[in-house]
Symmetry: C2
C-alpha cells in the first residue's frame, strides 16, 4: 500500500524540509520504503542524517503548498522525541523513523526506514472527494514538465466541480493554489525556456 | 464538508441495512445532514424509526459491496449503545445518531441528525490513491443508468492503473467487484429493457 503522507527532514544546518511522499507501507507501519528522486532535498537530508518523521495528515492545504515548493512560513512544528527531526503539530499521526539502508543502484533511490516512535494527535477526517481531488491535483501539478497541459487542465476542470461540491474552505484554498500554478505554467508554455520557478518544482517522489 | 461514510439502519422487522452515504458534516461531527433518495431503504428505515449509526471507514471493499446492493453475508456487527442500531465492528469511528427533522419538500429528502454517542475503534489509513479510486468507482457504478457507459469505462481504465500501483488486496478485490458490475451493465446495454438487477442498485444518496 502506498500512503500519501508528508515527510519532514532536517538539513545539516537545521533547515526543515517538508515534502509530500508516497512511501510503501505495511499495515502495521513499523517499517516503510521511501523512493525519493536523487535530486530531492529529502534524499540529501536523509543521506546526511538518516532520521526524519513521516506524517499521516488530511491537511491538503499543507500538502499542496509542499508540493509546489518550500513551505513558507513554516507550519507549527515541535521537536521529535526519539530522532533528530520535527513533527507537524497539525498532523493526524506521525512516525519518527531511522533509515536502515539506502539503495542508489536505480534511478529512484530506495530508502528502507524503521519506525522508532509512533503517536496519534487527532483523527483523520475520512473519505472526502474534495480532499482527494486536491491530492490528485497536487500530483499533476508536479508533472507539468512531462504531461500534456491540456490533459492536466481537463482533469482540473473535473476536480473543480468536486472541490466546490464536497469540500470546505481548506480544500478550496488548496485547489486554488494548485490551479494558479498550472495557469502560470500555461501562460509561459509558449516561452522557449520557461522560468526555472515553474519547471523546478518536482514532487520529491512519484 | 461531505463525508463519504457508511450508514447502518434497522428496518421495523430488525433487518440491518448498510448504505454508503455522503452526509454534510461540521468539523466536530456533533450533527450532520443526510440527503437520501426517497426510494432508499435508509430513508424508509429512518422514517419508521429515527435512529442509526454513521461510520467513518476506510474499508473500501465493504463500501463497494454496499454500493452494489444488500451486503450478504453481513460484516461483523455489534449493537449500538445509545440508539436502536448496529455498529460495524471494523469501522474506524462511529456516530450513533437520532433524527431531529425530516424535510420531504424536495426531490431529495433532508434529514437533520444529532450525534448522541461517538467512538473511535481504530485509525483511518490516510490518503491512498487506490482507496479513493474505489470510492469514485463505486459512485460511478451507481450511476450507470444516467451516465454514458463509455465515460464510466474510460474512468475505470484510469482507476485500474492507480489501484494496481498504489493499493493492496482489499482495494483490488473491491475494484474487481465494481468492474464486474460495469461489465454486466455493458453486456446488457443493448437490451431494450435491461434486467432489474442492473438498474435497481442506486446508491442511496448522491
Amino acid at each position: 500500500m502506498i500512503l500519501e503522507g508528508i515527510v519532514t527532514t532536517l538539513s545539516p544546518s537545521g533547515a526543515v524540509n517538508i515534502a509530500p511522499m508516497g512511501p510503501r507501507v505495511e499495515a502495521d507501519l513499523r517499517r516503510f520504503q521511501l523512493r525519493p528522486f536523487p535530486t530531492s532535498q529529502t534524499y540529501r537530508n536523509l543521506k546526511a542524517h538518516g532520521e526524519g518523521v513521516l506524517h499521516v495528515s488530511d491537511d491538503v492545504l499543507l500538502l499542496a503548498r509542499a508540493a509546489l515548493g518550500p513551505v513558507e512560513p513554516l507550519p507549527p512544528l515541535q521537536p521529535a522525541s526519539h530522532v533528530r527531526g520535527r513533527v507537524l503539530c497539525d498532523a493526524c499521526r506521525y512516525y519518527e523513523f531511522r533509515v536502515q539502508s539506502i539503495d542508489e543502484s536505480e534511478e529512484r533511490v530506495r530508502i528502507e526506514a524503521e519506525v522508532v516512535h509512533a503517536q496519534r494527535l487527532r483523527d483523520f477526517f475520512g473519505f472526502n472527494r474534495a480532499k482527494h481531488a486536491v491530492v490528485e491535483a497536487a500530483i499533476l501539478a508536479t508533472r507539468t514538465e512531462f504531461l500534456p497541459l491540456d490533459d492536466i487542465e481537463a482533469e482540473y476542470r473535473k476536480f473543480a466541480v468536486v472541490v466546490e461540491k464536497t469540500g470546505g474552505a481548506q480544500e478550496r484554498e488548496a485547489f486554488a493554489l494548485l490551479r494558479q500554478h498550472v495557469e502560470r505554467v500555461r501562460r509561459r508554455a509558449g516561452d522557449v525556456s520557461p522560468p526555472r520557478e515553474d519547471v523546478s518544482l518536482p514532487r520529491e517522489d512519484e
